[in-house]
């Protein structure tokens, strides 16, 4: 409770006005862990986690999506979650966000067990296929998600305005989302993920549908989070993006973690000691471990 109270009293992010030379999204660069007085060293942990989705009549069948995953996402920095399709990456994200419950094992989020849903107020989440309520306008949508995330009402309007400026939608703030293109919805998705000024930002295939400037914006946001000592969990198939942004990565294949550690380790060829492209590093790992795949 004490931590939560402190969290409410934290400084507002100085969401800047977009345009040339825009200031960073996080106007303060104090390490969040120190700022809140929390001895938080991990943003998320997965301990022997399994997830089997029930299938068939009365759920008698099952598909194993995650098999005995033990993984630590350290606090601060950008953590990449890589793997081929159906490797279980999105399932791990859903477990972390309490969208699904693990079949076995333990997951913690910002140092707390998953049943502490209040920690979700310090998490931002953006995924590739948003289907926001089409009857809401951009500003109504951000106010709605901000309200649900316990953003104080006194701060909410100002924060919404700044975020809409930041993602380039200020001039469309009063239009229903039904009129938005996919790229605009993605920008709005990014804004809603930031509306509660999160400590942990979870991005699941975030650049899907974004144009060049949208991708640039997303990179800026990730860098600003990193500079502020916050954590970004990035799930992406866009390897140059991962290579550019991530500090550490975990590679999942068929529901199992087959590699985790600093990205630099993965980029260095163990035999020759030479630098290599991420794609070249991942290909043999995928081939070696992918025997049948997972959901």
């Amino acid at each position: 409770m004490k931590g939560a109270a402190k969290a409410r009293g934290r400084p507002s992010p100085g969401f800047p006005i977009s345009g040339a030379g825009a200031a960073p999204i996080m106007s303060y660069s104090v390490n969040v862990r120190q700022h809140r007085g929390l001895a938080l060293t991990t943003a998320a942990t997965f301990d022997k986690v399994e997830k089997t989705y029930k299938t068939g009549l009365f759920g008698r069948g099952g598909v194993a999506a995650v098999r005995g995953v033990t993984l630590t996402v350290p606090a601060g920095g950008v953590f990449g979650l890589l793997g081929p399709n159906r490797a279980g990456k999105t399932t791990l994200v859903k477990l972390l966000l309490s969208l699904s419950a693990p079949t076995a094992g333990t997951v913690t989020r910002l140092g707390q067990p998953l049943d502490q849903r209040s920690t979700l107020g310090r998490v931002g989440y953006m995924h590739e296929n948003h289907a926001f309520p089409r009857y809401l306008t951009a500003s109504e949508l951000l106010a709605f998600y901000g309200g649900l995330s316990a953003v104080p009402s006194a701060e909410l309007d100002g924060r919404v305005e700044k975020l809409l400026e930041r993602v380039g939608l200020a001039d469309r703030k009063s239009e229903p989302i039904a009129r938005f293109s996919k790229g605009m919805v993605q920008r709005l998705g990014l804004a809603q993920a930031l509306v509660n000024n999160p400590d942990l930002l979870v991005l699941d295939e975030p650049t899907e549908g974004l144009d060049l400037s949208g991708r640039q914006l997303l990179r800026e946001v990730v860098r600003e989070f990193k500079a502020a000592g916050k954590t970004v969990l990035l799930v992406s198939h866009v390897l140059p993006e991962v290579q550019e942004l991530c500090d550490r990565v975990a590679v999942l294949v068929a529901g199992k973690v087959v590699h985790q550690g600093p990205l630099a380790d993965l980029l260095k060829d163990a035999k020759t000691g030479k630098e290599r492209a991420l794609e070249g590093a991942l290909k043999p790992i995928y081939e070696r471990h992918d025997k049948g795949g997972a959901a």
């Binding site: 989705y53 859903k94 966000l97 309490s98 969208l99 699904s100 419950a101 049943d115 502490q116 849903r117 209040s118 920690t119 979700l120 107020g121 998490v123 989440y125 995924h127 296929n129 948003h130 289907a131 926001f132 309520p133 009857y135 809401l136 109504e140 709605f144 998600y145 309200g147 649900l148 995330s149 316990a150 229903p176 998705g189 809603q192 509660n196 979870v202």
Partner: protein, 331 residues
Amino acid sequence: MTHYPDAIRTVRWMVRDTFRQSVATKLFWAMLGLTLLCAAFCFGITVEGAIERPRHPAELPTYLPKGQKTPEVVAEGVRVADGKVTLGYGLFEYPVTKNKTDSVRVILIWLAGVVADTVGVLLALLWTAGFLPTFLEPAAVTVLLAKPAPRWAVLAGKYLGVVLFVALQSMLFVGATWFATGAATGVWDGTYWFAVPLLVVNFAVFYAVSALLAVCTRSTVVSVFGTLLFWLLCWAMNFTHHKLAAEEVPGTTRAAGVLVQVGYWTLPKPLDLGGIFFDAMKAEEYATPIPELAAAKARGSFHPELAVVTSLVFAAAALAVAGYEFRHMDY
């Protein structure tokens, strides 16, 4: 683990969102339009020639039909129904069966008990049945469920929002038709306002079933048709129970009798809820009673309080199951 301020905040935002949805999807205006149509209809009611006079407490509320008005009857001081009721600004007319107040009350009973409580509740169920399934689509709800909002509060907030929306529309309907009828005829019957709780309770009970179906199937079609079928089942069960209580129905086995008893006491009771409203309006004095309901009353098997309580308990149980299911659902 539920953090109650989170739950209250969630319910508040969900209620607000539901009202916004009803306005943006034009549902609010469609229902308001129907209300205005009904109010316009009421404004066109006139009652002519029906002389109103105070009734003696011991006097039987009976009149002779207009056709039997003979000089002898008039000489004996027997009251004879006289005058006419016109509807649709004079387009239709029929003779007054009793006095002016009761003639207007019959129209109000039809408006609340048939138009609003049957057609209105069914339309409201039909139009709002899509709210929850579309809201619960995985692509739509995952971002919301990743917020610190308890899942049960999300569902409860959406349910409460729809019920409050229908409550507002019920008040507008009853208020507008009451005012228009009063202005047109001079009969201001306050008991007509009992229609508001009747409509709200009736809708709330059946919308709980709609919510349960929406959570379990996430299908608007199943939610709509499932709720309509359930509504029909409840009416049938309610009628059958009173019919069996009133008279011996040939061919009814003991097992069927027990089944009807269990079904009646378990399921919501729309006929009984309507009966409470009819009683409040003192409908037995001027309108033809529903035979099954009248028989149940005569036999003492009509329990208005229990009808309300058991209907609400059913709704609460349906909502609790929906909440449990939603809480444990994988997205």
